[in-house]
Amino acid sequence: MASQKQTQTQTDTQAVALRSLARRYTAQTPRRLRVIDAYMAFCVAVGVVQFVYCAAAGSFPYNAFLAGFGSAVACFVFAANLRMKTDPQNRQQFPGSSAEGAFGEFVFCHVVLHFVVANFLG
């Protein structure tokens, strides 16, 4: 009984923590970052779809799968980079970088990445 009660309170606190997390997120996150977050969620979805397809239908042609999945992961990561660098809370962590510079890097990384991915798709 006691342990059941304990788990009950644990889940309660977890639920509370999650709810407070969501509240703080909506309160603290600027609109621009929320757009990036949505894009990141989309990237994850794309990656998951490809992974499930690969698991269900086989990995052939492997290079195409790797290119597609890799580009989804890379897009997610680059978006995360952009988000970190443009988050006003992180300003002091990145000395000498601006939002424009971060976006420039984002574009540069994508150019390099998709050059590779296009070559790899075959």
């Binding site: 923590a17 407070s20 997390l21 703080r24 997120y25 603290q28 492997y62 290079n63 790797l66 290119a67 890799g70 580009s71 992961v73 890379a74 990561v77 680059f78 995360a80 980079n81 970190m84 660098k85 809370q89 992180n90 962590q93 990145f94 000395p95 000498g96 970088s97 971060a102 420039g104 890097e105 984002f106 540069f108 990384c109 390099v112 990445l113 590779v116 991915v117 070559n119 790899f120």
Partner: protein, 738 residues
């Protein structure tokens, strides 16, 4: 204190000086690698470079597409080799690009010269990259010192003299530059530098198998920082950018293929990538939910994840989902592994464990500056210094396991020595404090004097020499002068040592040998090229030449003939077959040789000159390798005589005397050395009565270093060759008169 020289401010002067010093370092780096060209000629060295040279020529002549799809049917006969898919194309593409660029501006340079001078040119770039690395971790002084060190360090020169056209020649530059970019991207948290790191990593992957070192060291750095609780968003940006682009790019090289997704060597990088995503997410959540225990929790979860991940890796490796570590990697952990399981790896001298003197030989004083550098890194211990320490430890370990990995140790030793040296010089070359101290002493002196005069009246006291101001000033400077003079002396000795080593040990092309007569006269021994040229001129273009694998690339490159095995060593069975042919008796060998379509057999024999790297000395390895694949009928012990010695003369074991290798080497040798003749390598008496029926001597070079035999055709009358030669009577046997 702004002195102006030629109208330049102090900072302009420093940058001008820096550029001038770097220029001089580059010149020295290139210049000290040219001994071999001056002594011998502009020729490709050794073994592997001949393959690189041949493929480069093919690339230049036939274009990239054909090169990429090249199936070489003249190697590994009758199997052939998919050249395009089994090489690291970086060095060939680099040379071809330089060649084409030079021709575009109407400089009609020969491709051979591009290849010969590629490694020295890249060594200058390595010096510049090392400067950047040193500057990144300490300051420009350390950078300049490190650049000066790497420019002449024998550990690197050994692989990059002019003519040594091997992957390492450009790979060390790429290694150092990739690490520099990595450190900068971590420090700035810059995705741009992360992407550049990935691009140079890709170049490195295309150039050398040693790229595995990068893809393990960088994740290790990240992992160490995470465990130290030093996660930062900068680290996330740098690593994740590097990893996603680098991995996808590395898979573009056919030889690497999909390996990054399923081999153990690459799993650490993947695991670290997953880990840093989790850590990044956790640390983001922490900014939303501040908590004191969060840090503890993160550390715990990192360790837990590491255990789970490592266990999963082991499990997947055991269930063969992930390819296990290759033999070469096992031999990195267990130095005896190769000798027991893969004799072919153990047989290569550069895969042997390093002897202690080698470190001093190749790095001189740098090797004892390395611990000093590590000490100074520990004192500062920024993210960059963690990297330097990890690199030092791992490279030092690997260099101890395998001689040729001193090459990967050299850059970090140079950087660490530069850091240590810069620290020393920073303290001991700073005369501003001493100067003020000396002035203080002087002032104190005069005050004292005045006081003394006041006390003692008008008579000034007679001073001993220890009390004079000049002595005191000297005394204050003394430690500085001693230390600086000492280190300058070491630096000079270092330079002398490096030049001496380079000129005496690392500048021989090994295709062409030099010797000095007792009167000091200089002889060039050109037997290898003589033999290869003979083959090219006197045999059919499709003739198949059997030799031990060491000479395969040279045969293909210089004689342009089909070979059975070469330095690629991808097929152990085929090599063992060749070993079996050379180790069996004449009749078995003949049968096998005809079975494999062999037209000529080539052996290298040093008994006349005293050239110890010949086939008789390598013979035991051939037997061991053959024994590994054909265990029946082969025993290494059979080749030792009753006394357990590896003898070649009349006391040799019967198996040894029957073996083809023995016969091919000593056939008719006593005719030139006389009945009392000695083998100059083994210092043993020559065997008499070496008969040979199934093979006939086709060519022997001036110094008997290369002997070529023709495999006889079947007898016209259907006899065995023994019967045929018995019928024809003894022609050479015992008929010399002395």
């Amino acid at each position: 204190m702004a002195y102006k020289v030629f109208g330049l401010t102090a900072s302009d002067q420093t940058s001008l000086l820096r550029i001038a010093i770097l220029g001089l370092i580059s010149i020295v780096a290139v210049g000290s690698r040219l001994y071999s060209v001056i002594r011998f000629e502009s020729v490709i060295h050794e073994f592997d470079p001949w393959f690189n040279y041949r493929t480069t020529r093919y690339l230049v002549d036939n274009g990239f597409d054909k090169f990429w799809n090249w199936f070489d049917e003249t190697a590994w006969y009758p199997l052939g080799r998919v050249v395009g898919g089994t090489l690291y194309p970086g060095i060939m593409v680099t040379s071809a690009t330089i060649y084409n660029a030079l021709h575009l501006v109407n400089i009609p340079v020969d491709i051979r010269n591009v290849c010969v001078f590629l490694a020295p040119a890249f060594s200058a770039l390595t010096a510049l990259a090392t400067y950047q690395l040193g500057k990144e971790v300490k300051n420009a002084t350390a950078g300049l010192l490190a650049a000066a060190f790497i420019g002449v360090a024998p550990g690197y020169i050994s692989r990059s003299v002019a003519g040594s056209y091997d992957n390492e020649g450009i790979a060390i530059f790429l290694l150092v530059f990739t690490f520099f970019l990595w450190l900068r991207s971590v420090r700035l948290g810059s995705a741009l530098y992360g992407a550049l790191t990935a691009i140079f990593y890709f170049y490195m992957v295309s150039a050398w198998g040693g790229y595995v070192f990068i893809i393990n060291l960088i994740p290790l750095h990240v992992f160490a920082l995470l465990v130290m609780g030093r996660y930062s968003n900068r680290l996330y940006v740098a690593y994740s950018t590097f990893y996603v682009i680098g991995t996808l790019a590395s898979m573009q090289i056919p030889f690497v293929g999909f390996q990054p997704t399923f081999t153990s060597e690459h799993m650490a990088a993947l695991g670290t990538f997953g880990l840093i995503q989790l850590v990044a997410f956790a640390s983001y959540v922490r900014t939303l939910v501040p908590s004191d225990q969060f840090r503890v929790l993160i550390r715990l979860s990192i360790l837990g994840l590491f255990v789970v991940g490592f266990g999963g890796l082991v499990l997947l490796t055991m269930t063969k989902v992930i390819a296990p570590w290759t033999g070469r990697f096992y031999s990195l952990w267990d130095t005896a592994y190769a000798k027991v399981h893969i004799p072919i790896i153990a047989s290569v001298s550069e895969h042997q464990p390093t002897a202690w003197p080698n470190f001093f030989f190749d790095l001189n004083m740098l090797i004892w500056l390395l611990p000093a550098g590590i000490y100074f890194s520990f004192r500062e211990l920024s993210d960059n210094h963690v990297f330097l320490i990890l690199y030092s430890l791992f490279a030092a370990y690997f260099a101890g396991v395998m001689v040729r990995l001193i090459l990967t140790l050299t850059p970090i030793v140079c950087v660490m020595a530069g850091v240590a040296m810069a620290n020393v010089f920073e303290i001991y070359l700073d005369f501003s404090k001493t100067k003020s101290k000396a002035e203080a002493v002087k002032a104190e002196d005069s005050v004292m004097e005045k006081k003394e005069r006041e006390i003692q009246g008008e008579l000034p006291a007679a001073k001993t020499i220890y009390e004079t101001a000049g002595f005191k000033r000297f005394y204050a400077l003394f430690p500085q002068i001693v230390v600086v003079a000492n280190f300058l002396y070491f630096l000079c000795m270092f330079q002398l040592h490096c030049s001496w080593i380079t000129s005496s040990a690392y500048s021989s092309p090994s295709v062409v040998l030099a010797s000095r007569g007792p009167d000091g006269s200089h002889h060039i021994i050109d037997d290898f090229r003589e033999a290869y040229y003979w083959l090219q001129m006197n045999t059919k273009p499709d003739a198949k030449v059997l030799s031990w694998w060491d000479y395969g690339y040279q045969l293909a490159g210089m004689a342009d003939r089909t070979t059975l095995v070469d330095n690629n060593t991808w097929n152990n069975t085929h090599i063992a077959t060749v070993g079996k042919i050379l180790a069996s008796d004449e009749d078995t060998a003949y049968e096998l040789a005809r079975h494999l379509d062999v037209d000529y057999v080539l052996v290298v024999f040093g008994g006349m000159l005293g050239y110890s790297g010949d086939d008789i000395n390598k013979f035991l390895w051939m037997i061991r390798i053959a024994q590994g694949v054909y265990p029946d009928g082969f025993k290494e012990e059979d080749f030792y005589n009753a006394a357990g010695e590896y003898a070649i003369g009349d006391t040799a074991s019967p198996t040894m005397r029957r073996s083809l290798m023995h016969k091919l080497c000593y056939y008719r040798f006593h005719e030139v050395m006389g009945p009392q003749g000695f083998d100059r390598v083994r210092k043993q008496k020559l065997p008499r009565d070496v008969t040979l029926d199934n093979f006939e001597e086709a060519y022997t070079t001036e110094n008997w270093m290369v002997r070529i035999y023709r495999v006889k055709d079947l007898d016209n009358y259907g006899r065995s060759h023994h019967a045929a030669s018995a019928f024809e009577g003894p022609r050479f046997k015992n008929d010399f008169v002395f």
